[in-house]
Subunit: 407 residues, 2 copies
């Protein structure tokens, strides 16, 4: 039995209640055993039962639930740093794509990369995320775009789940773009997804969720409905990349199908807010994509005021958001989505947990929850969010086990 | 004698030439001895003279001059994280100031902090900057705003220069704002600056530069001219906080007085570009201040095209830019100032050196320069800038001595 004490602020982050209600406790303590939280409260109210727990002095720091990055494209071949410089010099996305760049180049590099190379690269990225205080990562396929390579990406996630401490939540995103070789026969690819890949992935339990990118240049709403309905029938949870570049009606589809999350939403309308609120669908905001693309940021205030829970994630990928730095995404959400540090914290903990269907297991520091705990070298969340440092994380406990301890 | 080899890209960053000309060498090597660079070139062209140097394998990484943060307010009491949350909630700067917040609260906290407390805090910030690859830091006074407390801040810098490895370049910014107790008698404070503080600081060699914040709510152009002329007569180099919130003519004054740098410049006009270019005054851009304040970014393209050298610095301070993360400032300069990674790199090395009058000593990896060297875990500068990580710095050599070595 272990005890964290001398905590200046502890945020329990209950999933229910308003987005700003983080359940803050000052001068707090927390007890855990066998990977489960037993007790959280004021240090001076610690029950006698826990007096013998092994104490760990947090030095007056902030304690929060382990961070959850609920939207990443973790496994990919290659990088695209040169395109970054080209975009600054004024080259358009279309020019870059015509010269063999863009997402097609990542598909090519992912197909050409071996399982081991992809796994090692993703493992390195996860290690850096853990050091920042992230304990759970949703990770999508979608750069294979054929039978073998979509399975290869998901197998990388399955192997990494066994080999490193973070919990991974795999999502099948075979419907990311139409693969180059199927542009003239889209229906054949959709049939491959629904009739072959989805059943096989279900059989082998390689993914919990099925995602679909609905946008101009990607899938139509009716194609998305077909793919997601097939996934739903097989028992997958549903996610949608919705309303990023154009408004297509994808958020409305997310509500209609009862998707756990609608992600991106830069082009969402006020009408959609209510639909998502009524459906209990989480809006996953991806501020680093807006930052890197110099695009509009999501209307987080409108969503929150309509009663939609807004998560914050990195969108880690080699093109539009080449960073797995969740605290930077959180800072950008404060600055550019007008979310307070408290709202952002819940967006990267309990609400992010809801976006991956695990809100009863992780994302909150409450008795019975998994002991995923991050200790931040700041006295409160306002200071943490505003004073941007390379890494303010002082220690991470994952499933009850210390992973980094710089206390 | 030491040798760095197996370098995928080395940027020499000569101070002359266009901003984009970073003197890139692929498959490079570098030799140094007694804190001075002896030789830089292609590894396969290493002269026999250096064959016995102690080799250090850079593992195919990027090697750049030690980064220079040429604009910081390093020494201050307290922090202002709560104001950050208040601003997001919609409180105006004036409301916050009326409630005792804003810069006046930092002045109060700095005056109330002991020399030791200020020194320890600044030392912690410097340590984090060094870990990021920063080897020289300009640091301003300006939160004391009275005789004893301005001297106290500069004494902190003098002490830190002796106790830690980074080079500090102290700047006297007694003319930051008009101190609260002098609002009704501005001239008396200016007389304190020019007749007492400047001569004493010169006598004790506590600062190399004199800076003045010319803006609405701070000093007028004619007050600034008076202060800076007095400083110039005493032999100080000149810097100006210019054209940040309003256009006052401060950039033109910088050119007129031959200041080494004009800093901020969010409100600079095209007319000013030519004046700065002709005077050889460096434009110091502070993208993190724009990011945190949600203000306009500087017109870097206009300045560069007019022939002005544009530096990039953090503006580290507890209000408008509470971060000493220079690589984040550099990323924001790429994204929001339309500067290429190459231009930004020169802006944080040789051009930053020029902004502190040390361009013949540091900021370039050329024979004869001080051996301030940063090794980045990326194969080239484009990849480094685009893939934002907590800390991509793999090792730092300061004045020939290894400071961090994670190779």
């Amino acid at each position: 039995m272990d005890l964290l004490h001398n905590i200046s602020q502890l945020a329990t982050c209950p999933v229910n209640g308003k987005q700003e209600e983080i359940g803050s406790i000052s001068d707090a303590a927390l007890v855990w055993e066998f990977g489960k939280i037993l007790w959280v409260g004021k240090e001076n109210a610690l029950p006698d039962t826990y007096r013998d727990a092994l104490p760990h002095d947090c030095g007056g720091r902030l304690v929060i639930p382990g961070l959850i990055d609920c939207h990443t494209h973790l496994c990919f071949g290659g990088w695209r740093g040169n395109e970054f410089a080209q975009r600054i010099e004024g080259k358009s996305y279309l020019e870059i794509a015509a010269a063999g760049g863009g997402i097609a180049s990542t598909v090519k590099a992912t197909r050409e990369s071996s399982f081991d190379v992809l796994k090692q690269k993703a493992a390195g990225l996860l290690e850096e995320m853990l050091a920042l205080g992230v304990t759970t990562v949703e990770c999508k396929s979608g750069y294979g775009l054929d039978y073998d390579n979509e399975i290869k990406q998901l197998e990388v996630y399955a192997a990494l789940q066994q080999e490193q401490p973070l919990d991974l939540v795999p999502t099948f995103l075979g419907a990311h773009i139409i693969p180059p070789e199927f542009t003239e026969r889209r229906d054949d690819y959709i049939e491959l997804l629904t009739n072959k890949l989805l059943p096989e992935i279900k059989r082998r339990e390689l993914a919990e969720f099925c995602d679909c990118y609905i946008d101009e240049g990607a899938y139509t709403v009716s194609e998305g409905r077909k793919i997601l309905q097939a996934a739903h029938a097989l028992g997958f949870g549903l996610k949608i990349h919705a309303e990023q570049l154009t408004h297509t009606g994808a958020a409305s589809l997310a509500a209609e199908l009862g998707a756990v999350s609608a992600e991106h939403l830069e082009r969402i309308t006020v009408k959609d807010h209510k639909l998502l609120a009524d459906a209990g669908t989480v809006a996953v905001s991806l501020p680093l994509a807006s930052m890197y693309l110099k695009d509009d940021y999501i209307d987080a205030r409108g969503l929150i005021e309509a009663g939609v829970a807004v998560a914050v994630a990195t969108d880690l990928n080699p093109g539009s958001s080449p960073s797995g730095h969740l605290p930077l995404a959180m800072l950008q959400a404060c600055l550019n989505q007008a979310m307070t540090p408290a709202e952002v914290l819940k967006g990267a903990t309990s609400i992010a947990a809801k976006a991956i269907g695990r809100e009863n297991l992780i994302g909150s520091l409450l008795a019975g929850y998994q002991a995923d705990i991050t200790i931040i070298d700041a006295k409160d969340i306002n200071h943490w969010m505003y004073h941007f440092r390379a890494n303010a994380c002082a220690a991470v406990i994952k499933n009850g086990v210390w992973q980094h301890n710089r206390l």
